[in-house]
Symmetry: C2
Subunit: 250 residues, 2 copies
DNA sequence: ACACGCTACCGTACGATGTACGTTATACAT
DNA sequence: ATGTATAACGTACATCGTACGGTAGCGTGT
């Protein structure tokens, strides 16, 4: 059974009249030397690819080619795409640096939220990983510490146990919702243009308020982080009310 | 050139020793009668599939099989998967029924937001379409009318033009962020369990506040809509402050 | 009744993708 | 030089969306 080619090699004996004279022969790369790869190097390139080309354009093959390496070499370091994505996400989350501990509790809380928001919007593709991944509750110490810090600030502000937990949830939902919207707006500028065009050309009779507020709505599509800060302040305003009046609002 | 088979038919003349004695022969369906399909019918099945199996399990082939129809039949009614998804999204959005126009402006605003939130969480897969689709600013009249209505209520509450526009943005970001989180939690209960386990087993010395608030945090994973309502009230509280004090909050 | 044409339905093929599986070359120890 | 562990790899396969062209079922005109 000594075969010069693997058994599954396609035998080219039956050459047809089709135009494909030769199978494209994928330009046989020469094998990369032994130490060419490492999980860190792979993650570096993966994050660069994600940031540059976006999540949709990412593929294991593209990443391997970017690294000048065969596709399957990646599987020595990561069990699969999911694991690689999780590692990439963790690398980004680990880069979170908590803001200064100066100022009042609400100033600090605001700064912490803004920092998270910037972290997310700075890494659009990773944000999508966070939002879409099938399971990412296995967070890092960095993320856990950030959460602990925010809860501490809410308690410091005088919120009760339950209020603190729920206010944290509110901040986190708003932050990720905001970041997602901005990332989408930034990733698809043509869609944003379409939206702007639509807003500007609305029939005043059917949508009077929308048409009336068109300039302001257009303005609000300009800077995502401004809009985020505005909403954050609205929420913080509500939280401050909670801090004064210990009963639930409304 | 009268061929009984298409020119590209693989000739089975070179039978190898491999175990694949016969090509699996995909059980040749009989052709469906002429009027079997319509875009409405396709959308019905698509939405059912999406709701039942989730966005990840959805494929054109699966949808066609569910309809008892060849895959390519779908392309008579929709240019492709994207167009089908947009149509599905529109169908769901069109089902939005604005809540009653009774009560004060803020009560009405609250009701409108809750209705949107329920619409989203009731259709998890469609929400993901909304969040991930490459371009969905081509909204329906239903959606536009809802937006107009909310802006009207904000203005009625006494907000200035710019404040109304921005407050709308805040509400919408929070609503979609919330819905997304709940949908993910509901789609991956095992991940939620992992999260709960992690929260319950945190080292008190490193994350004192988190550990302290563990019961409340666990509680807050129970009902997503409760958490949404809580955050919504926080934001509305901030908005009401705006309505009284016409300057931006801080 | 019969033919004809339109088009809804369909089969096949293609180029992607993630990855299971087995192979091979390289670096190091001996 | 020879062995050995394993990093890097090539191939194959299932699955996906869909381009392309074929074909059969219907409506219509005679």
């Amino acid at each position: 059974m000594a075969l010069t080619r693997p058994v599954y090699a396609p035998d080219m004996s039956s050459e047809h009249s089709t135009a494909t004279a030769a199978p494209p022969r994928p330009a046989r790369r020469s094998r990369a030397p032994r130490g060419s790869l490492s999980s860190d190097l792979i993650l570096d390139h993966a994050l660069r690819l994600l940031d540059e080309k976006g999540l949709d354009a990412f593929s294991m093959r593209a990443l391997a080619e970017d690294l000048g390496v065969g596709t399957m070499a990646l599987y020595t370091y990561f069990r699969g795409k999911d694991e690689l994505f999780r590692a990439a996400r963790d690398r980004v989350l680990a880069a979170y640096t908590p803001p200064s501990t100066e100022g009042s509790w609400d100033q600090q809380l605001r700064a912490a939220c803004v920092a998270v928001h910037e972290l997310f919007t700075g890494r659009p593709a990773v944000l999508r990983l966070l939002a879409e991944s099938t399971a990412n509750e296995d967070f890092l110490d960095t993320a856990t510490a950030a959460m602990d810090r925010m809860l501490a600030l809410l308690r410091e502000g005088g919120l009760g146990r339950e209020d603190a937990a729920r206010a944290y949830g509110t901040l986190s939902r708003f932050t990720i919702g905001s970041a997602l919207r901005e990332v989408r707006a930034c990733a698809h500028p043509e869609a944003l243009d379409a939206f702007r065009a639509r807003i500007a050309a609305l029939p005043q009779d059917r949508f009077p308020h929308l048409a009336d507020l068109a300039p302001e709505l257009l303005l609000s599509t300009e800077s995502g982080s401004d809009e985020y800060a505005y909403g954050l302040d609205l929420i913080l305003c509500g939280i401050r009310t909670l801090a004064t009046t210990p009963t639930t609002p409304a």
